[in-house]
C-alpha cells in the first residue's frame, strides 16, 4: 500500500499535484482549531479591511476575519463532502453488490428503487426539503438527504461489476465451498470493486460540495453554520462586490476551486492506477 502511494507520488504528476493541493486545503481546515475567534461572533475585528497584516485575507463587512472564517468554512465543507461520500458509498456498495449477486426479484426490486433515484430531479427536491424543514434544517440532515440521493449512479456501476463477478469461477468455488452470501460479497467481491469505489468517492465528494455551495449561496441551507457557500451567501447579502469588498468572495471561491481540482486530479490518477495496463507498466503492486 505505502509502496503504491510512493510510486504514484513519484511517477504520476497528477496524483502528486492532487495530493499537494488537498494537503494545502486540509492544512487550512486544521488551522480552524487554533482560531482566535469564534466563527459565529461578528464585529470582532474592524470591518471592510483589504488584505493586510494581521488580517492576511482582509475582513468582512460583518467584522469577521476572512482567513479564520475560511478555516471553519472549508473544514465544514470538507466534512460535509466526506460524510455524504461515506454514507452514499455504504448505500451504493450494499445495494450494488447485493443486487448484482442475488439477481432475480431482489435485483429487480433494488434496481427499480435505484432508477427512481436516478431520474428524480435533485435540485428541486433539495429546495423543497429546505422549505419543509426551514429552521430545523441542519448541516447533518442536509448531508443525510444528499447521501440518500447520491448513491444511485454508483450502485448501478457496482452492480454491473458484481453481475460479472457472480459468474466467475472463484464465486462458484466459494458457493461450492459453502461460503455464505455476505462472506462472498465482503471477502471475494468487495476487494475487486474497491478501487472503483475510491475513484467514485472523489467524484461524489466533488458533487456534494458543489451542490452544497449552490444551495448555500441561494440561502437554502442552515446559514448559521459557516461553510464556503454560506460565506458567499453573506458576502452577497452585504453586496460585497458592489461595495468593492472582493476579497470576501474571491478567497472562498479560490479555496473551493483548489479543492475541486485536487479531488479531480486524485480521481483521474486513481483511474489510471485501476487500469491494469497502467499498473503493469509500473510493475505489480
Amino acid at each position: 500500500m505505502w509502496k503504491v502511494l510512493r510510486d504514484l507520488l513519484r511517477h504520476n504528476r497528477g496524483f502528486a499535484i492532487g495530493v499537494a493541493l488537498l494537503s494545502f486545503v486540509l492544512a487550512i481546515a486544521l488551522l480552524s482549531f487554533v482560531s482566535p475567534y469564534s466563527p459565529l461572533d461578528s464585529y470582532v475585528v474592524p470591518p471592510d479591511l483589504p488584505p493586510c497584516w494581521p488580517y492576511v485575507l482582509g475582513t468582512t463587512s460583518r467584522g469577521q476575519d476572512v482567513f479564520w472564517t475560511l478555516t471553519f468554512a472549508i473544514r465544514n465543507t470538507l466534512l460535509f463532502g466526506f460524510l455524504v461520500a461515506l454514507l452514499s458509498r455504504l448505500l451504493s456498495l450494499t445495494i450494488g453488490l447485493v443486487a448484482g449477486y442475488a439477481g432475480g426479484v431482489v435485483d429487480r426490486a433494488l434496481m427499480s428503487l435505484n432508477d427512481t433515484f436516478i431520474v428524480i430531479p435533485l435540485f428541486p427536491i433539495l429546495v423543497l426539503f429546505y422549505f419543509v424543514m426551514r429552521d430545523r434544517m441542519s448541516w447533518v440532515s442536509l448531508a443525510l438527504v444528499m447521501a440518500c440521493l447520491g448513491w444511485a449512479y454508483d450502485a448501478r456501476l457496482i452492480r454491473s461489476v458484481a453481475m460479472s463477478l457472480r459468474t466467475r469461477e472463484f464465486t462458484e468455488t466459494g458457493i461450492f465451498s459453502g461460503m455464505s452470501m455476505p462472506r462472498i460479497l465482503v471477502e471475494e467481491h468487495l476487494p475487486y470493486v474497491l478501487p472503483i469505489v475510491f475513484s467514485t468517492t472523489m467524484n461524489n465528494i466533488n458533487w456534494s460540495i458543489g451542490l452544497e455551495v449552490t444551495l448555500s449561496v441561494l440561502g437554502f441551507t442552515d446559514i448559521n453554520t459557516p461553510t464556503i457557500g454560506v460565506m458567499i451567501y453573506w458576502a452577497n447579502q452585504h453586496t460585497a462586490l458592489v461595495a468593492g469588498i472582493w476579497w470576501w468572495i474571491a478567497f472562498p471561491v479560490l479555496l473551493v476551486v483548489i479543492t475541486f481540482i485536487g479531488l479531480f486530479l486524485l480521481a483521474v490518477s486513481m483511474n489510471e492506477f485501476i487500469d491494469p495496463r497502467g499498473r503493469l507498466g509500473r510493475g505489480a503492486p
Partner: protein, 384 residues
C-alpha cells in the same frame, strides 16, 4: 453390474502396489463398494418465461459408478452434457439447472449420503473434505485481487478447522508434496503462469484429502507440454491420496493417458462404458467407433471421413436413440425405442440396438452382430 475386479491388463492396476507404505484402508465388507453410485440421473435446464416452459435435456437417464482408487474418464463432444452431469454429481446445482429424477449415492468409507435426499447442511458438509470439484476454467478459481493464501483460507479453511497457523502448515506441507514452492501463497494469481495457476487450483481442491475428486476439463486451456505436467501431478495426487477421480475432457488422448475406465456421452446420455483399453481397442457403439476412428494415427496418409450432421439440439432431442439420425446402422426400432445401456461383456456396457438387439423385436429389425459391426467401421489394423 459393472463391479468386477480389475483385470491384469487394465492400466490402473499396477498403481496400487506403490502405496504399500501407506496405512491400509479399513478392510470392511464394502471395500469394493463404489465411491459414488449414480442411478438414472436426470438433470434438465428448465426455464419458464412468459408462460412458456423450455427445457434442455442435458443429462437424461445416466447411470454410472466410480470405484475406489480409480480414474473414471467421461468423454464426449462439447455440449453433450458432460459438465452438467458432473455438476449434478458434485451437487453444484443452481437454477435453471434442475434435478428431475434419479439419485446420487456417496459412500465415503461407511458414511453414506444420498445427495438429493439429504438436507443442504449434510450436502455442504461433504464438500472439500470428501468431495472436491476442480471447475471448468479452474485457472480462474483464484480471486484475481486476493493473494493465493486468502483463496486457500476462504475456500478450504472452514472444512479443516483448527487454528489458522495449523491450517497454513497443512497447506504448506500439501504444496510441498505437490512440488510447489510455498512462496506461491504470497503471490497474486496474475503473477503465476497458466500451468502454475492450474497446479495451485488442483492443490486447493485436494488440500483436505478428499476421497472423490471431480475435475472438469482441468487441462484444456494448457499447451501439451504443461498439460502433461499437470496430468502427471493429478495422477500423483490421486495415487498419494488413494482417492477416486472423475475426470471430464473431450480430449481422447488425455483419457488414454490417464483413465482406468471411460464413459462416452452423446447428447445427454451415456452410450458406452468400458475399461479405457477396451474402448480404444474395440469400441462397440457406432458413435464411439467413429470417435476412435477419427483420432489421427502416426503414418496415416488416408483422408478421414467425417460423420454427417451435427449433435442434436437438446431442447428437442430426436425420439428413440439420440444418435439415430446420424447413425450409419440406424434401424426402424432406433427411432422408436431408447436403447438401454446393457452389459455386453463384464465391465463393458453399451446402449445400441445394433449391438444388443431389442428383446422383443417390434418390427423385425435387421440384426447386425457385433463382430460384423466392428469389422465394418473399426480403423484398419485395429480389428480384434
Amino acid at each position: 453390474m459393472g463391479m468386477h475386479p480389475g483385470t491384469p491388463g487394465q492400466p490402473g492396476h499396477s498403481r496400487n502396489q506403490r502405496d504399500e507404505l501407506r496405512e491400509p484402508r479399513p478392510a470392511t465388507a464394502a471395500i469394493d463398494a463404489p465411491v459414488v453410485d449414480v442411478t438414472n440421473l436426470r438433470a434438465w435446464y428448465v426455464t419458464r418465461q412468459f408462460g412458456v416452459q423450455r427445457e434442455v435435456r442435458a443429462v437424461d437417464d445416466v447411470s454410472l459408478q466410480v470405484r475406489r482408487n480409480e480414474i473414471y474418464g467421461l468423454a464426449g463432444e462439447s455440449s453433450c452434457g458432460k459438465s452438467t452431469l458432473i455438476k449434478t454429481i458434485a451437487g453444484a446445482v443452481r437454477p435453471p439447472l434442475e434435478v428431475l429424477g434419479g439419485s446420487v449415492l456417496f459412500d465415503f468409507h461407511g458414511e453414506h449420503l444420498d445427495l438429493y435426499r439429504s438436507p443442504p447442511a449434510a450436502r455442504a458438509a461433504i464438500r472439500w473434505k470428501h468431495l472436491s470439484y476442480v471447475m471448468q476454467g479452474s485457472m480462474s478459481v483464484l480471486n484475481p485481487v486476493r493473494r493465493v493464501r486468502h483463496s486457500f483460507v476462504d475456500f478450504a479453511y472452514r472444512h479443516i478447522g483448527g487454528s489458522i497457523a495449523d491450517f497454513e502448515n497443512t497447506v504448506r506441507a500439501h504444496l510441498e508434496r505437490l512440488q510447489l514452492r510455498p512462496g506461491v501463497l504470497e503471490a497474486y494469481p496474475h503473477e503465476l503462469s497458466g500451468g502454475m495457476r492450474q497446479r495451485v487450483a488442483i492443490a486447493l481442491a485436494t488440500v483436505c484429502r478428499p476421497e472423490l475428486i471431480i475435475a472438469d476439463e482441468p487441462t484444456t486451456a494448457l499447451d501439451v507440454i504443461v498439460q502433461k505436467g499437470v496430468l502427471g501431478m493429478i495422477r500423483e495426487v490421486q495415487r498419494e491420496l488413494q482417492s477416486s477421480l472423475l475426470f471430464v475432457t473431450h480430449d481422447m488422448a488425455v483419457h488414454a493417458y490417464l483413465c482406468d475406465r471411460l464413459g462416452v456421452m452423446y447428447a445427454g446420455r451415456l452410450i458406452e462404458e468400458a475399461p479405457t483399453a477396451d474402448i480404444f481397442r474395440a469400441p462397440l457403439h457406432p458413435y464411439t467407433r467413429h470417435l476412435i476412428a477419427s483420432l489421427p494415427r502416426i503414418g496415416q496418409a488416408a483422408r478421414m471421413d467425417a460423420l454427417k450432421g451435427a449433435p442434436p439440439n437438446l431442447a428437442a432431442p430426436p425420439a428413440g436413440c439420440r444418435f439415430h439420425p446420424r447413425c450409419p446402422l440406424a434401424m426402424e426400432v432406433c427411432s422408436q425405442q431408447v436403447p438401454p445401456l446393457e452389459t455386453l461383456t463384464p465391465g463393458h456396457r453399451v446402449a445400441c440396438f445394433a449391438v444388443t438387439p431389442p428383446a422383443t423385436p417390434a418390427s423385425a429389425p435387421v440384426s447386425v452382430s457385433p463382430t460384423q459391426v466392428s469389422t465394418r467401421a473399426a480403423p484398419p489394423g485395429d480389428s480384434r
